[in-house]
């Protein structure tokens, strides 16, 4: 009898814990799926005259460009900028950019300006639908209501694209969308408008942190929730099989960046420090090459914190270099990149001032050498010729020799990459596809 009593108490206790658990989960869900109070609309759209709309429309396009929306929301098949479909590979599965054209069936044609602000700044779409944080609301949270409204005005006047969204392929339990609300409770900053009108630095910060959401790729992520690790802001991160380098003023100075070179890089995709590759190539295409020079200058001012930068300062080569690697470099690379790494203007980048060999990880060097880079028109008249991939010519051992030589000669790095390191990096790269 006593035994049975004990058991029923235990069951009751468990029941109480379960009730509390459900209540807590429900509370967290409500908190994480709520957008809280939002600022009032900046304009009364119903009363806008055509000229005022035009001004707003133009500003909206600038927000769209600076926010780099198209990089994720374009169709990889047709190139249509708002159709959606760009895959984003995360360790938890793959997501696809959604249709953000004004299609009423597939896109956001039924959204109000309030709806857009909520989605962009808080990650909550109409119907309390929580968005995955691949949509960078954790960065966009400081967007001004004025910019959001301008973006809405622009988006709603674009051609609707009647293409259905592609469902994500997330692994369990990440495929349970409401669970993102819990992520929000822990990681989502409160939506708060940023005043970027104070000075150039503030404007730059707004463009870098909020619209450009640079930190999403260039900051390490936390192990547990995969949120941006704000304590290591812009310290560099390997994401989607490539290294998004550190962008702190110290790290930029170390790799020879100046404000002017940063502006050149944003505008044309090319500078003495290198050429935009991987995901940055689409940032150039859809975003920075369209931005006004003043905005690019503001970004460069913020990233360098207006400090004096030392400028290009090629690293002193190591006294002993990998000789096998040197032979591979002279045999396979020097024909275009020059024996001294001097490159060819407007067709192949110099290695001697390139930052890729300077990175703490060789992953980008390995990836570019293995896969090559397709011939590309960059922007504002700059272009690069095809770089062939050498995956079929170089085994892991030879790759290690080659990257060691390059890192020793131009990177100020030791030649300690092994064949098994190379194999590991190759696995990381392949996993991101």
């Amino acid at each position: 009898m006593a035994k049975a009593n004990g058991k029923s108490k235990w069951i009751k206790g468990l029941g109480a814990v379960a009730v509390v658990g459900v209540a807590v989960a429900a509370g967290l869900y409500l908190a994480g799926s709520s957008s809280g109070d939002i600022p009032p609309a900046s304009v009364d759209f119903a009363k806008l005259g055509p000229q005022e709309y035009d001004v707003l429309y133009k500003r909206g396009e600038q927000v769209f460009r600076a926010g780099d929306c198209a990089a994720c929301h374009s169709s990889p098949q047709t190139g249509a900028e708002l159709a959606g479909g760009v895959p984003m590979v995360t360790p938890m599965g793959t997501l696809y950019g959604t249709n953000i054209s004004p299609s009423k069936e597939h896109g956001i044609g039924n959204w109000s300006a309030d709806d857009l602000y909520r989605a962009v700044a808080t990650g909550i779409a109409p119907g309390r639908k929580v968005l995955y944080p691949a949509m960078p609301y954790a960065s966009y949270h400081q967007i001004t209501r004025g910019d959001s409204d301008a973006l809405w005005a622009w988006l709603m006047k674009q051609r609707p694209v009647e293409v259905a969204n592609k469902p994500g392929e997330m692994q369990f339990p990440f495929n349970i969308r409401p669970a993102v609300a819990l992520w929000n409770v822990v990681n989502r900053p409160a939506a708060k408008e940023f005043d970027y009108t104070v000075n150039e630095l503030a404007r730059g910060r707004y463009l870098v942190d909020t619209l450009g959401h640079c930190a999403e790729c260039h900051s390490p992520r936390t192990k547990v929730t995969f949120a941006m690790d704000t304590s290591r802001y812009l310290e560099g991160n390997t994401i989607e099989g490539s290294y998004a380098p550190a962008l702190t003023p110290g790290a930029l100075g170390e790799r020879g960046w100046t404000r002017d070179d940063l502006v050149k890089f944003f505008r044309t995709g090319l500078s003495p420090q290198g050429v935009m590759t991987f995901r940055m190539a689409s940032v150039l295409d859809h975003s920075t090459s369209h931005m006004p020079e003043a905005d690019l200058r503001a970004m460069a001012a913020y990233l360098t914190q207006n400090q004096d930068m030392p400028g290009l300062q090629p690293k002193a080569p190591q006294t002993q270099v990998n000789v096998k690697g040197e032979n591979l470099y002279v045999g396979l690379c020097a024909g275009c990149h020059g024996v001294q790494g001097e490159g060819q203007p407007h067709s192949s980048v110099p290695m001697s001032t390139n930052t890729t060999a300077m990175f703490p990880t060789p992953i980008n060097l390995i990836r570019v050498i293995r896969e090559g880079v397709e011939e590309r028109d960059l922007a504002h008249g700059e272009r690069m010729q095809t770089m062939p991939g050498f995956a079929d010519k170089l085994g892991d051992e030879e790759m290690a020799d080659l990257v060691n030589y390059m890192r020793q000669t131009w990177g100020g790095q030791p030649g300690n990459v092994t064949a098994s390191d190379v194999a590991g990096h190759v696995r990381t790269i392949e996993h991101s596809k």
Partner: protein, 189 residues
């Protein structure tokens, strides 16, 4: 960097070297200035046009093409190489017999100025050898040709005749394709 190396290679079935050459020498220069073989053409000098294509035969790995203008002797040292001079055969009497690819180019009037031709000959030859090992369905020949010849630039824009010559010779050579050809193509040269 040490400045010079001793370079040897087997070129067109003949052992050459060791020759004392600057370490940063590109293969095209070795062929033309040291080996006296001027069949390999320098076009862009940047790995873009493929006029300078030569063949590297790697035992076990098969044959690949590389642009001689940007491939240095340090990488080719000790390797087995074919240039356009080694494609035709010569009989005991010294009579030159063009290879099937070369014949097809002649029959189709594929080239005009001929500057790009050595590159096309070498690339098409490698394609034929690849297909010997891995035949493709007869209807997919165009795709295979495009994959192989796509990087080659012809300033006289002789692409159509080059491609149809290669298609013809592949379809006519037993063992390179499987199945029956169902696609009709216009006789465009």
């Amino acid at each position: 960097m040490q400045d010079r190396i001793q370079f040897s290679a087997t070129i067109n079935r003949k052992k050459i070297g060791p020759v004392d050459v600057p370490k940063d020498l590109m293969m095209i220069e070795f062929l033309q200035e040291y080996a006296g073989m001027n069949g390999t053409r320098l076009g862009c000098g940047q790995g873009v046009c493929r006029a300078c294509t030569i063949i590297v035969d790697e035992p076990g790995k098969g044959s690949i093409t590389v642009p001689a203008c940007v491939t240095g002797v340090t990488w080719l040292n000790g390797k087995t190489i074919r240039t356009v001079e080694g494609i035709a055969s010569v009989d005991d009497k010294g009579v030159v017999h063009p290879s099937p690819v070369q014949k097809a180019f002649l029959e189709h009037y594929s080239f005009q100025c001929g500057y790009c031709t050595p590159g096309f000959v070498n690339s098409a030859t490698v394609l034929m050898e690849k297909l010997e090992k891995n035949p493709v369905p007869a209807d997919d020949v165009e795709k295979a040709i495009e994959q192989q010849l796509e990087p080659h630039v012809c300033r006289c824009t002789g692409y159509v005749r080059y491609y149809s010559a290669v298609r013809d010779v592949i379809l006519k050579t037993p063992g390179l394709t499987t199945g029956k050809r169902t696609k009709e193509v216009a006789n465009n040269g």
